[in-house]
Amino acid sequence: MKCIVFAWLLLFSMNAYSQLGSNGLQVKTVPDSGVLVSQGWKFHEGDDTAWANPYLDDGKWQSVDLIHYSTYLPLFAKKGIGWFRTRIILDSPLLNAQLAILISQAGASQIYYNGHLFEILGKLSAKPGTDDLNPHDKPILLPANLSDTVSLAIRFRSRPPWLNYYPKSGMAPLTVKIAPWLSSLNHHINELVRQRTPIGFSFMTIGLGLLFIFLYSFFPKEKINLIFGIFCLVLCLDSFIQFQLAEGNLDIHATGQHVFFSMLTGKSCGILILSIILIEIFGKIPVYDRVFIVYVLIFDSLIQLFLPTSGIAKWSGLLTRSFFIVEFLRCGIYGFISGHYILGIVSLSSSILNANALIPIFNPHYQSLSYDFFNWLLCLIMFSIYLANKYARNSKHLAVQLAEINKLAQANQEIEREKQQILSAQNEELEKQVQERTTALFHSLQELKDTQAQLIQSEKMASLGELTAGIAHEIQNPLNFVNNFSEVNAELIDEMNKDIESGNLKDAKKVSEDIRQNLEKINHHGRRADSIVKSMLLHSRASTGQKEPTDLNALVDEYLRLAYHGLRAKDKTFNATFRTEFDEAVGSISLIPQDIGRALLNLFNNAFYSISEKKKILNEHPGHNQKGYEPTLFVSTRRISGNNNAQENQAEIRVKDNGLGIPQKIIDKIFQPFFTSKPTGQGTGLGLSLTYDIITKVHGGQLSILSQEGEFAEFIILLPG
């Protein structure tokens, strides 16, 4: 680093090995680095071999300085060819020295030494641009001198104007130097070796570039890898172009575009380096930097391409350089402050190199250092170190993090295991609770079932109570006949005996017939009482659950009478007309008589209750037409035959009353257990529910209702069979 700065400072100091005199350029000493023969030239456009004559009077020719090409280059525009003449006066110590002339040119030329054609560089007359030759300061040994004055004439064809491009300020189309032969030869060989180094460099950079782009493809988050990869590839391109430019053999083809691209790649490298540094130090590329990058890449390049010799190009180049100098300087300072030493070094060296490149704009005689290559190499190495260091830090950090994660994972596993244990414990607890609850529920259910059974039994007993009075009446009636007919029979037997005794056998026979008739009546009514008692017992007994063929009409009639008398017993004022219409075709049906009897009893009781309530209401409100109301219960049976299918045979029982009817809003609820419309204490709410269950669940029948509130209610039972 110090070396670069030192070298750069050295080149600022002016050297005075020669001075321009009236007869020509006075050369006092020739250092190893050579003397630039820039001033003291005469120029004339056009072509005449006579102008090679050292004694030609060129007083009227234009005086030019080769560096200031803008003064003479436009004159080539017309003919493309012109002559330069000068006289070099060597100081006496140089007379015996072996000197060489070093030429760099953009075009083709013929060198005349003291009037004689001495060297041909390129073809003058052939196609311009393709037959150019640039010797790149290749030393040409000058013949040993006898006089102290050397006359030089250069017949020069410039590169065509459209190819005229001079990338570096101060690089004239033609430069001439005088240097000691041996040292210049040495220097030239060294230069040739240096020019070939970019080839190796190219391979290195292309490898590095691909490697980093490859890395980027794995970690797209690390943009720095991409930028660095691109930088490497651009650098590869740059060094390749540099090599092409520098290679003597290829020089004929090294046109202005090559130079332009070389400049473009150079600028791109600068921008990429700056980008990397900005991102690494500041974490982002500021907006003004982006704007300037666009300017440098597009506008400056366009200006340099199309207006290479103009003032705009000069100022644009100055601006570009200044931008790089300032930004690199800023990054360098920040880099050192923030501890990014490597980036700081790269920044500062880049800034210094750019400043160095700026000098020729102000001082055309100054030969700027061509250390770009070394700077790129420096950047490459520094960046590589930087990135390696960064990755090393990252991986260290990652290792630490990994250890922490492992620790956390272990802790997590521990917690997970504990959770699992708690969960399984809770599970067990839950299972136990569920078991307990289930048992409790089962007990509750059992209790509920028992209660239900008890309720059903009490419902049965309740209806039995209702029956008792009716049964009493029903028994008293046959008993009345049994008692009285038997008493009458006793009297009749006495009477018959008297008749027999008196010989009135005819009368006795008549009486005996009466006795027989009475006995039949006694028997009939005795059976009647018996059946009533039996049915009562049947009713109170728990259902046998056995279906048996039963005369449905008889069953309906029996329970209708029981119901009627039951209600009559309770309510003395109650009276109702009941009409029956029994279809003989119904016949015998397989059913559980007690159950169906109970179901019918419920329906009859409800019907009687309804009509008696309606009558009560009508009596309490005399305004109503109560005379026309006749409480009626209509019970009918009917056989419904299926179509050729005994399975579809059904018996229908209709129980219709003209009582209060059932309000539409409760019609859906009346079969629900414990639903009752009766006042509290008068109904268990189980009657219809039981009825429904008996008919639908036990017997597989149907129970439906037709009703109009205030008018009638009709229950329709359908029993299969």
Partner: protein, 131 residues
């Protein structure tokens, strides 16, 4: 004496005819049987003041005994027929109700015909003191 018997039990006719066979044979008593309240009222309307005694059951489908009693007491005032209720419900409640409604007597089933005969005889005597 013409007696109207109202009961839904049809065998009551045979029973009465046998029990009162002597009285019927002698022509002391004449029985008419109807099997519902409605039938009884119809008969009474058609044979005004013929029947001097009405024996009615209480529990009957359709018009019951009390209803019949009420109607008789309301419609047939001159002369008011004697109405006796004969029922299987021998409880005091039924008795009170019947008496309040103007029943002349209240008998329970199984019917004691000896008692009935005596009552009828007394009645007959009361009605026709001379005979």
């Amino acid at each position: 004496m013409k007696i109207l018997v109202v009961d839904d039990e049809k065998d009551i006719q045979i029973l009465f005819e046998q029990r009162f066979r002597k009285e019927i044979r002698n022509g002391e008593m004449h029985f008419v049987f109807t099997y519902s309240g409605e039938e009884a009222l119809e008969y009474l309307n058609q044979h005004v003041s013929e029947a001097v005694l009405i024996l009615s059951d209480i529990n009957m489908p359709g018009m019951n005994g009390f209803e019949l009693l009420k109607q008789i007491k309301a419609k047939f005032e001159n002369p008011p027929p004697i109405v006796m209720m004969i029922t299987a419900y021998g409880d005091s409640e039924n008795y009170k109700l019947a008496m309040n409604m103007g029943a002349d007597d209240f008998l329970t089933k199984p019917l004691d015909f000896n008692l009935l005969k005596e009552k009828l005889k007394t009645l007959n005597y009361d009605k026709n003191p001379g005979s």
